[in-house]
Symmetry: C2
Subunit: 340 residues, 2 copies
Amino acid sequence: MKLKDLAQHLGLSQTTVSRALNGYPEVNEETRRRVLDAARRHGYQPNANARRLATGRASAIGIVLPTDRNMLLDPHYMEFQAGLGETLLRDEIDIVLSPSRGGDETANYQRMAVGSRVDGVILSSPLIADERVRLLTELGLPFILHGRTESDIPHAWIDIDNEGAFRHATKHLLDLGHRRIGLINGESRFTFARDREIGFRSALAARGITPEEDFIAGGVMSDEVGYRIAERFLAERPRPTALLVSSMMMSLGAFRAIRAAGLELGRDVSMIAHDDVFPFLNPDVMVPTMSTTRSSIRAAGKRVGELLMEIVGGRAPETIHELWPVELVIRASTGPAPAD
Amino acid sequence: MKLKDLAQHLGLSQTTVSRALNGYPEVNEETRRRVLDAARRHGYQPNANARRLATGRASAIGIVLPTDRNMLLDPHYMEFQAGLGETLLRDEIDIVLSPSRGGDETANYQRMAVGSRVDGVILSSPLIADERVRLLTELGLPFILHGRTESDIPHAWIDIDNEGAFRHATKHLLDLGHRRIGLINGESRFTFARDREIGFRSALAARGITPEEDFIAGGVMSDEVGYRIAERFLAERPRPTALLVSSMMMSLGAFRAIRAAGLELGRDVSMIAHDDVFPFLNPDVMVPTMSTTRSSIRAAGKRVGELLMEIVGGRAPETIHELWPVELVIRASTGPAPAD
DNA sequence: GAACCTATTCAAAGCGCTTTCAAATCCTGT
DNA sequence: ACAGGATTTGAAAGCGCTTTGAATAGGTTC
């Protein structure tokens, strides 16, 4: 059933039917009712591609998934997508995935931009100086950054306060008497990891403590890497009495390393991990319960979707900068520093 | 730059240029070279939506993500998508995500089918009697099932041998002398979970052992649920000496429960977990290393993409049934049953 | 009653591509 | 030199929708 058929059936022109369906005002209310009614009865749905061609709008947003950077492999993306969906589906916006191999993301973005496959894209996990901002600006493809990057080019971003989160977490550990604190971070090329390290260092500096460089490390945010780094930290003498960890996945590994070293979490070693709020990894049911800096990545996904649609709708990207505060939730994995 | 411009620039008709670009044979080789050359120089890329409208092919496949079923929240989807991308990106096929809330997936599928938004869809995590097979058949939307379901309607599927995998794993534990084996399964409404239970039971039955119903449980495949079930099992007297677990995530929780009960994995309690091969959760680096039934979900995603494109291309779905064997990898988490 | 609004509808022209059908050109064999 | 076939190109008709510009009908105004 196409528009033409529906129009014929109603004895109206395509024009009027189209207008009635799309809510244009210059249509008699009675006519509109008839049209909407008939459309529902016949299960009419416009051909998405015809509409796209006619309007020039893709009604879709894109995400490039780097399938070889370990990035995508973790659950963060999934949660983020779920959040995105909450916004976009309501407005009949499609989410187009463009998995990219071999670090050749440029091609993916180009492809999306040129064929008018999508109206805009979402940039996740930005590097400290991320080329994609320039690339997309040149391509003229609207975008929003989830995270931040250094760039002269004005652009939209939304980020959590990674620096503040880790500053507060560090400060909390200091207040508990900890002096040797290990930082198990994400990969240092990502802005969020840099910001967390800055927050960590600044809290130490505020107390006149010089951080031990051996107690700062980062890597892919996996269970495995968490284990390895924690194992290394705990083998040092004197060893750290507290760990600050960039993800719950890593904290699982770190926890194992603590056990493996014959130590007890929350007593011998304290730990605070960053929690992106995965439904399948709940810090409240861990044993012991895990102290966290918490910010829902799903909520972020939802908001990112909203904002991108605003940009596509004409809002100036440079007016969009949101920095979300991060909550520090103290649970049982943190305790006073043990006596030396 | 559109086709018309390019044609004008070359002094050719749109027809010829279009044919040259799309590899039709009835075009002079020299002309084709000129066209391809000019297209590259001008960075010409056809408008995706115009092409879609003209050909009637969407060059896209769809995935409905149930955002409220806990399903999607786990990392399986992500790995699967990565695999999909390996196939589809090569052929310029888009992956369209359709997140669905409130269990109203029907609407999502309908939407994809009618607007010719996608050429076909992928069905993941089928229930034992999954309505979607009938729905999609009626909608006339090509699809492939990743997993199996009971249905009179002939359809394409690809699945791993869940039953065989768990039968072998159980048999291996029996060979090690274990008699009380706990099954920590996925949610029982899913076919894969049922099949695993069948495999488990049949291995026991083959030795004349009646399974203890209290040692069979299932739930969302999360760390948390793994912990809870294992904790419950281990509180029983006599307790199981081995656990068979449906996912690595659950096995993490189960492992914690074993430690919490003051037991040692691989000595007091053996464990075999199903490993979908996540790059961030490597059974080889766990302590102790984890015995697994292994089958890469990413490889499955890749194959599913290939097969779906074959179906879209005209291959009869009922000719597509692939059952993949599952490897049993014995590592340190399994050992002989302790004396009673 | 003529001129002028306003509200409502429609015919037709795109959107940028593919594809059918016809035409033009070039060979080949006789 | 010419019919007949193969090769190569092009004009034009869609694909199903939106949107412009024009037309019609029904008041209003002076």
